[in-house]
Amino acid sequence: MTIVVTLAITLQRNLFAVVVMSGIYSFLMATALVVLDAVDVAMTEAAVGAGVSTVLLLGAIHLTQGNETRPLRKPLLPLVVALGVGAALIYGTLGLPAFSDPQAPIHVHVAPHYIEQAMAETGVPNVVTAVLASYRGYDTLGETIVVFTAGIGVIALLRRRRRRE
């Protein structure tokens, strides 16, 4: 299903259709994440990927034009690079431990401590929230600053042009 949508996105030249299909792709990804029990990430994917970014891309199309221009040359080198990197990544996943293997390194390091102690130490039943905000609070602060920086960057880029008009 995702493969069909991805192929359709690459072949389609009408950008409005591409945006709508990338919204569909985001919802498919959200469904896959729900199946993997990552409801938090699925929520974010559905809200950001399918909701907000679709609106922003539509706004961008409105500012430019609705059709992709044909490339001047056949992009063969990028195709080779993309296929090579894709093959290397797939080869890399073969070295990963089996999905939900309890002996995988990630499950024997600090994860048992979080799962067993999070309720007693933080009083928060949702382990994801406990790890995100308390045990890994420093990382989340960094993430928030990344979002902050992105917002400041967009303001700096787009606002100046508006004033010039």
């Binding site: 809200a47 961008a60 409105h62 994801v128 929230t129 928030t144 902050f148 992105a150 967009v154």
Partner: protein, 143 residues
């Protein structure tokens, strides 16, 4: 989009529930899936929907630029402020255990405040990006 009666009525019905759901995701994030980031995005999506249906000026009137820009900075400041409060009360940076008499209570309070900071910044950034994108050129509301 001045004449789309059905869209306007449905949006008006939906938006209060979207805002309420954002608050639910935020404050129920301790018990179920969700948290500051998700809640912030849902909150921003509700306002963006309002802007799409009723036009950008209406959305700007409801949530002015000054408020949005203060939200972008305010969330990060709240998050870092909670961390610094930990230092001031004798703990480490981002150590919530000292925020209340009982360490577990302090953790709970710290997590809530920090998630609220994330919500404010994320909602502010999403709204601001929408405002500057839609505010350029002819604007989405005049299609």
């Amino acid at each position: 989009m001045r004449s789309h009666l059905i869209l306007r009525v449905v949006a008006k019905l939906l938006i209060p529930f979207m805002l309420l759901f954002a608050l639910y995701v935020q404050f129920h994030g301790d018990f179920g899936p969700g948290g500051g980031f998700q809640a912030g995005v849902i909150f921003a999506a509700a306002i963006i929907l309002y802007g799409l249906i009723y036009g950008l000026p209406a959305a700007r009137l409801m949530v002015p630029d000054l408020v949005v820009e203060s939200m972008i900075a305010g969330g990060v400041l709240l998050y870092a402020g909670v961390g610094l409060a930990g230092i001031a009360l004798g703990g480490n940076f981002l150590d919530y255990s000292v925020l209340a008499a009982d360490p577990v209570q302090g953790q709970h309070r710290g997590i809530l405040l920090v998630e609220f900071g994330v919500l404010i910044t994320v909602a502010g950034v999403m709204l601001k990006i929408f405002y500057v994108f839609a505010g350029r050129g002819k604007g989405i509301d005049e299609t």
